[in-house]
């Protein structure tokens, strides 16, 4: 079976599952939008004085988008656990489809889900005055970057799901997400951080994605930041995909 076809059909199947159970996405949408308004409400007024940020809505937009991305990607692992528990994953494993496409079918679908969520969340933020310095082109890059992050992030939950087959364990993906997102300049620029936090933020790949997205919203085209972000996504993606494929191999042991 052709790799691209198999991946395409398996992606379609995963997306069909999402559209038939849209309720799952409600919390992925609600929580980041809620946090967006709460942080903007709490810090927006003092941000100019404290961190020299005039447009805190724009500053908070990428945080909301990445929070939505990670939330959606975390539930991707749950879909895999459901397939494993129902035995449907065995059926897929029995088919001659390439092993990588069995995993990519879900990861690509998660990337698409995240892309749609990112569009909705950032549109809400834009309506409430977040602004977009780089215009429609920057908006497009921001959305694609979020989708790519969702794709790579989903690999964590997927690896855990494949390794354990346990819904509880697959939720751990969500626990990994909080440190990753909040050990980054989520609420304030990292120049204002204490040393230890600044160090952790510097080695956290999410920091580079966040800063690149923020530059698109607030500052204009900063190619260096976009380059760092692309490298962070590629590196993080290589790491999670390797984990996922290693976990897949243990299923036949």
């Amino acid at each position: 079976m052709n790799f691209a076809y198999a991946t395409y059909y398996l992606t379609t199947r995963s997306l069909r599952e999402t559209f038939r159970q849209p309720g799952v996405e409600v919390s992925n949408l609600f929580i980041p939008i809620f946090f967006f308004f709460v942080t903007v409400g709490a810090l927006g007024g003092v941000a100019a004085g404290a961190f020299e940020i005039e447009n805190y809505r724009g500053f908070a937009l990428p945080v909301a988008v990445l929070q939505g991305a990670a939330g959606a990607a975390s539930s991707g692992g749950l879909g895999m656990v459901t397939d494993i528990e129902r035995g449907y994953f065995d059926k897929l494993m029995l088919s001659p489809a390439p092993r990588l496409s069995l995993v990519l079918g879900r990861l690509v679908a998660d990337g698409v889900r995240v892309t749609i969520l990112a569009i909705v969340i950032s549109t809400v933020a834009l309506i409430f005055g977040a602004g977009m310095e780089t215009g429609p082109g920057g908006f497009l890059i921001l959305i694609l970057m979020s989708g790519a992050f969702g794709f790579t992030y989903s690999g964590i939950g997927m690896a855990i799901a494949l390794k354990t087959g346990s819904p509880q364990a697959a939720q751990v993906g969500f626990l990994v997400f909080f440190p990753l997102l909040f050990l980054s300049p989520a609420f304030a620029p990292k120049e204002f951080f204490e040393g230890w936090l600044q160090f952790l933020a510097t080695i956290n790949p999410v920091t580079y994605i966040l800063e690149a997205q923020r530059s698109l919203v607030l500052d204009g085209w900063e190619w260096e930041k976009l380059g760092y972000s692309a490298a962070a996504i590629a590196g993080f993606g290589a790491f999670t995909l390797t984990l996922t494929m290693l976990a897949l191999r243990t299923r036949t042991a």
């Binding site: 079976m1 398996l10 035995g87 059926k91 001659p96």
Partner: protein
């Protein structure tokens, strides 16, 4: 021509203590129906999972249609059809969607998919339910769809792991007919596992009985039953374990017995010309003051073959559905 399925000392040990499959040799010719009979936990499913590439063996080797199950795993997957014991379907697809996806994953040419899915839905009598989500299907419908899903690429070798466990008699009969039909008309080789004697007796050309990871008897159902060579008299004892022991000792004195065994609350006597011996059994037990509940005489069944080989009855999940054989 090579065999459809051939194993040499196939082994799966999870730990040195847990020997799920412990050295199995089987040889299934093309075009036959081979039954793997055993209780829960005997190693049936582990064997099927190894032969279908879902599990790597820890020892020995196996070939399916001449292909090595480890080295040629991808080709084995393209060659065989499989329906696993736990119906392995995805609740939020429709029957038609599931079969279509299945066809695509097996590389059925796009132009043929629609027609083939339609034909398979008809074959398993699910045309009317084709566009309903699978979560609305009954157990029997899911099982039939699972069987159809195993056939999308028209495999010549099909593995069915307990295809009728938990089904009502009507659904069971429907599955049996489909298996027999495909075997006769298309020459499809079936490897099926079961815990039902009746199923093995009805469908299979050859049966291997597996217990604790090893094959303990193998042959055609007729051969296996004939190997017992005697009738089987079962005496139900109501007087407790002491009476069971006493009855066993007493009945061992009968002429012509090949074996007398205590099994739970019963004593089983393997003996020639059982019908002429029954009055003598009653007399002997009365003299020994053993309290009897019932006496049955029957021709040997596969259950008796199993009992003879293992010393215990097979524990099927639904005892009322197992074969009781013809009473005398």
């Amino acid at each position: 021509m090579s065999s459809a399925i051939e194993t040499q000392l196939l082994v799966k040990h999870y730990t040195p203590e847990i020997k799920a499959v412990d050295g199995i040799d089987i040889d299934v010719p093309h075009g036959s129906i081979f039954g793997f009979l055993g209780a829960n936990g005997s190693g049936k499913t582990t064997t099927v999972r190894m032969l279908t590439t879902l599990l790597r063996p820890t020892g020995g080797s196996a070939r399916v249609d001449g292909l090595d199950i480890v080295k040629d795993a991808a080709q084995v997957r393209q060659t065989v059809g499989v329906a696993l014991q736990e119906v392995s379907l995805d609740d939020i697809q429709t029957g038609r969607e599931l079969l279509t996806l299945q066809s695509r994953l097996y590389g059925v040419p796009g132009s043929q998919i629609k027609e083939r899915v339609e034909r398979l839905l008809g074959l398993v009598d699910l045309s009317d339910a084709a566009d309903r989500l699978l979560k609305t299907y009954s157990g029997g419908m899911k099982r039939r769809l699972d069987l159809a899903a195993a056939l999308v690429h028209e495999p010549k070798i099909v593995f069915l792991d307990e295809p009728t466990t938990g089904l009502d008699p009507i659904s069971r009969e429907a599955i049996w007919r489909e298996i027999e039909g495909l075997n006769k008309s298309e020459g499809v080789t079936f490897f099926l596992t079961t815990q039902y004697m009746e199923e093995a007796d009805r469908l299979t050309d050859r049966v291997a009985i597996i217990d604790a990871g090893r094959i303990i008897a193998e042959g055609s159902p007729t051969e296996l039953k004939a190997s017992i060579g005697t009738d089987v008299i079962t005496v139900g004892i109501s007087g407790g374990p002491e009476d069971v022991g006493k009855a066993q000792q007493t009945l061992a004195q009968l002429d012509g017995t090949t074996d007398v065994r205590a099994v739970g609350d019963s004593v089983v006597v393997y003996i020639r010309d059982g019908s002429t011996v029954i009055p003598r059994v009653v007399t002997l037990l009365n003299e020994a003051s053993v309290q009897m509940e019932e006496i049955t005489l029957k021709r040997p069944t596969l259950d008796d073959v199993f009992l003879r080989a293992t010393g215990h009855h097979m524990e099927a999940e639904e005892p009322q559905q197992t074969a009781e054989g013809g009473a005398a």
